[in-house]
Symmetry: C2
Subunit: 152 residues, 2 copies
């Protein structure tokens, strides 16, 4: 039904949180989980995934934890979702290597692939920094306006 999984949601929240605390060198999974009241162990696994995909850098031991691997501007929502939920395709049949048996008959896959690309483009154009900056306490909400093109 076209919605983010909770894991992806948690992941985005966590990254945003990290982006908002650049002063600290690293934050533990537990700290972040507590900040939002989400299951610590689950978040831990999510952060591990993000680490494995190069979005975060981890450090074990005391005062260890996670930190963004790059500038918040360089991490897109797309990457986060992709890292957590794997490649997504709007069509139920993945179109990848092994398409579903209906492939020949299903004539809807191709045009929807374009839609898929468009959505991916939207997600790619959003960075963690965008999310973090969204609600400036007083700072002028300088809205960014992007144009995404859909070629059908």
């Amino acid at each position: 039904m076209l919605k983010l999984t909770k894991k992806a949601d948690y992941g985005l929240m966590a990254l945003k949180y990290l982006a908002e605390h650049p002063e600290t060198t690293a934050l533990s999974a537990k700290e972040v989980a507590d900040a939002y009241g989400i299951p610590a162990q689950l978040l831990a696994k999510i952060l591990q995934l993000l680490t494995k995909n190069g979005l975060l850098r981890s450090h074990a031991g005391m005062n260890g934890g996670y930190a963004l691997a790059r500038d918040a501007r360089e991490i897109s929502a797309y990457e986060v979702i992709h890292a957590i939920d794997g490649p997504f395709f709007i069509t139920s049949c993945t179109k990848g290597a092994k398409s579903c048996e209906l492939t020949p008959s299903c004539t809807i896959k191709e045009p929807l692939a374009r839609v898929n690309d468009t959505i991916a483009g939207v997600l790619k154009s959003i960075s963690i920094h965008d999310l973090a900056e969204f609600e400036q306490p007083v700072g002028r909400a300088r809205e960014a306006n992007r144009l995404v093109s859909l070629t059908l």
Copy 2:
């Protein structure tokens, strides 16, 4: 993981099929299901949903079946998905009347709502006619290029 349900997929296929057969007055659920090799009873239920939501018109009895309620140009992919899967929100918590308990802490909901609107806009800009016309046997593939704006 941001993908259409099979039901929505089936629904789009069926509508496309109906759009491609305007000469016939109506096609039965079984005919359409057989054309694509999808479970007839399941498709029947989907078509019933679409009928209830005003996208199709049904007619019982011999030579009965379903037909588009409007011109294929006037039926958007968004409507189809919405009719079948209900309202979708990219955020896991529906943001509607009763948000989830995390609402105060989850600061990511708002910006993602914009993304949600953008995606909805993309889907709204695609009509069944667009899908049906996609693969013209020889007809020049006149590509439509749309711009969707995302204000963050």
